[in-house]
């Protein structure tokens, strides 16, 4: 790692996660900009006050939605490939056709 970018270490790690790297060539400016963007977000999150509570609520809510409700209470009703799903819906739509019971 270049000495003049060693202060960016936490951001370099994040950039690496996304498959980006810092170098001495022309991509340096590009990565520095990205690094500043990441720093912007990291600093923003660190300086939150009320936002921390709100993020906790959001994360709990998303956990309940995706890890509990979606998994245990909302499985996809139609199973299989598109052809099987089409067959199933076709059968349902045909079977549910009404026979009139009274004029009004």
């Amino acid at each position: 790692m270049s000495p003049h970018i060693s202060g960016h270490f936490p951001y370099v790690v994040v950039l690496r996660i996304f498959g980006l790297r810092m170098s001495r060539n022309c991509s340096y400016n590009h990565t520095v900009i990205l690094s500043r963007v990441i720093r912007f977000y990291v600093d923003g999150f660190r300086s939150m006050t009320l936002g921390r509570t709100l993020w906790c609520i959001i994360l709990i809510k998303l956990f309940i939605m995706f890890a509990v409700l979606r998994v245990f209470f909302f499985p996809s009703y139609l199973q299989g490939g598109d052809e099987e799903k089409g067959e199933a819906v076709s059968a349902e739509l045909t079977e549910r056709m009404a026979q009139p019971i009274n004029p009004r």
Partner: protein, 515 residues
């Protein structure tokens, strides 16, 4: 056939309605308050006064609380589509999926990108860049609303698609027709402008609370001035787009209009019911009967004019819509409900024959019958014409609540602008404005009820009623999820009210000396 339990239809509807109505508590405040805070920040950038910056920051804080509570509550609706409304989800195919996907990818990412700059960017980006981010946040949220409302408008007035009997799906053939359908455009303008009204009512209400408590006088008066102008502008647009929406309903969903007006027997030169009391227990599907109103106040000719732009215009009532026989705007004769149900059954039968056919000739004959009768496809699931009549009292009263409150909001904003600083002397007026805050939500929810209850029994107007759209689930499981949502959303609402209340009590940092 295995009959669908009517309680399954009712509980599936109740579950979806509960989810949508709770979601709709948060969304209009996001759309409305977002514009108010952006206007405040624009004033800061134009004048350079720190006061406006602090004012904008305060409203942004409340916006953030509401945004955090409301974000992702709409995702549950998508879960429900896959589990409880599987036939519907498959039947609508990509038409419904495309707008929702665009909403998720484009609008939501735009919104969430710029919201970070809006909250984290004070003193880190230039004033103008920050202002642009604030506006882009709310524009992103509004574009989100556009795509959701495009999907909803398609259900009210399906256009731009063709039904493919091989896949049993509707396939989009004209994206522009779907995205810019007149119903979608009017629905978007009406919904968004009414959300602006709600945001403006919230701002003037909170500001009047400060006046009542003798706190933050300059902040409150400045916020009232900005929000009242904005609210008045929005309320007038809402009234205008409401009128346009009424014309769309008259054209594409005449049963909804008849229910909203309590119009059993239609005709020319129809009067508009300004207010009235329906006879409890009146049978709106009976062929005849007593007057269905206990009392009513009417404006002569107004309904004909509003529906057709002609004082002599013909407006069908519930009986006319069920019996048919009247002349339509294109000079054709309206079919009776019985006839449409018969054609619907022919279409469904033809679909079954098409899919079962082994030879090309049978397939072609079945396809021709299906295509000829497809506009009435959904009517084939109805057992009796009476099923076409939505709950009249709920639609009628919700419509009047919405309209009366809409008129009240116009008077409120105009009154606040006329009063100016004199509002500080009238405690009763301040209290009235504070008490108006929940009425903004009542009007918003009433509008939702008119739009969605008024179109019953349809999931997709004319093509798919609820009884065909729902999944064949155990009623108990739908009831379970209904109560889970009720508890979950109520907790969220209580949390929002608590956090919002604390933030309001803490107040802005504009003029602490007056606190």
């Amino acid at each position: 056939m295995d009959a669908i339990d009517s309680s399954l239809v009712d509980w599936s509807r109740a579950q979806f309605a509960l989810t949508a109505m709770y979601h709709w508590l948060f969304v209009p405040l996001t759309l409305g308050l977002g514009v108010v805070m952006a206007i405040m920040e624009t004033l800061y950038v134009r004048t350079g006064r720190e006061f406006w910056k602090q004012t904008a920051k305060f409203w942004m804080k409340l916006f953030g609380i509401n945004f955090a509570m409301g974000v992702a509550t709409g995702i549950i609706l998508e879960f429900e589509f896959g589990t409880n409304w599987s036939n519907y989800s498959w039947f609508v195919g990509d038409i419904f999926g495309a707008p929702l996907a665009i909403e998720g990818i484009l609008a939501f990412f735009m919104e969430s990108t710029f919201i970070a700059v809006m909250y984290f960017g004070w003193n880190k980006v230039s004033k103008r860049a920050h202002l642009a981010s604030t506006w882009l946040t709310i524009i992103g949220a509004t574009i989100s609303a556009w795509w959701i409302l495009v999907a909803n408008a398609w259900m009210q007035h399906p256009v731009g698609m063709e039904f493919n009997p091989d896949t049993v799906r509707n396939e989009m053939v004209d994206f522009a027709a779907v995205a810019f359908s007149p119903v979608a455009v009017v629905k978007f303008c009406h919904t968004v402008s009414s959300s602006w009204v709600l945001g403006a009512v919230f701002v003037v209400g909170v500001s009047c609370w400060y006046l009542l408590r003798g706190r933050h006088r300059e902040f409150a008066l400045s916020s009232i001035r900005v929000a009242a102008w904005f609210g008045l502008f929005a309320a007038l647009i809402t009234a205008h787009t409401g009128h346009q929406s009424g014309r769309d309903i008259a054209m594409y969903q005449p049963m909804k209009l008849a229910a909203a007006e309590g119009l059993y027997e239609g005709g020319t030169e129809q009067a508009l019911v300004l207010g009235g009391l329906l006879r409890p227990g009146a049978d709106w599907t009976a062929a005849s009967g007593d007057d269905r109103f206990l009392l009513k106040v009417e404006m002569p000719y107004a309904l004909s004019y509003l529906a057709t732009h002609d004082l002599q215009g013909y407006v069908p009532g519930i009986r006319n819509l069920l019996e048919g026989g009247y002349k339509l705007p294109d000079d054709s004769v309206a079919l009776s409900a019985e006839e449409m149900m018969k054609r619907g059954r022919m279409a469904i039968d033809a679909l079954a024959q098409y899919r079962a056919a082994a030879d090309a000739e049978t397939k072609a004959t079945a396809l021709a019958t299906l295509e000829e009768n497809f506009p009435w496809f959904g009517y084939g699931y109805l057992k009796s014409p009476g099923e076409l009549v939505p709950p009249v009292p709920l639609t009628f009263y919700s419509f009047r609540i919405m309209v009366v409150l809409g008129g009240y909001f116009i008077a409120l904003f105009a009154g606040l602008l006329l009063l100016g600083q004199r509002v500080t002397r009238w405690k009763w007026a301040q209290l009235a404005v504070v008490l108006t805050i929940p009425l903004a939500w009542l009007a918003s929810q009433a509008g939702w009820v008119v739009a969605e209850v008024g179109r019953q029994p349809w999931s997709i107007q004319g093509l798919l009623p609820n009884v065909a759209a729902i999944s064949k689930l155990d009623v108990g499981s739908v009831q379970t999820t209904f109560f889970i949502f009720l508890i979950l959303f109520t907790l969220l609402l209580v949390a929002e009210l608590g956090i919002m209340g604390k933030a309001i009590a803490a107040g802005p940092e504009t003029d602490q000396t007056s606190a």
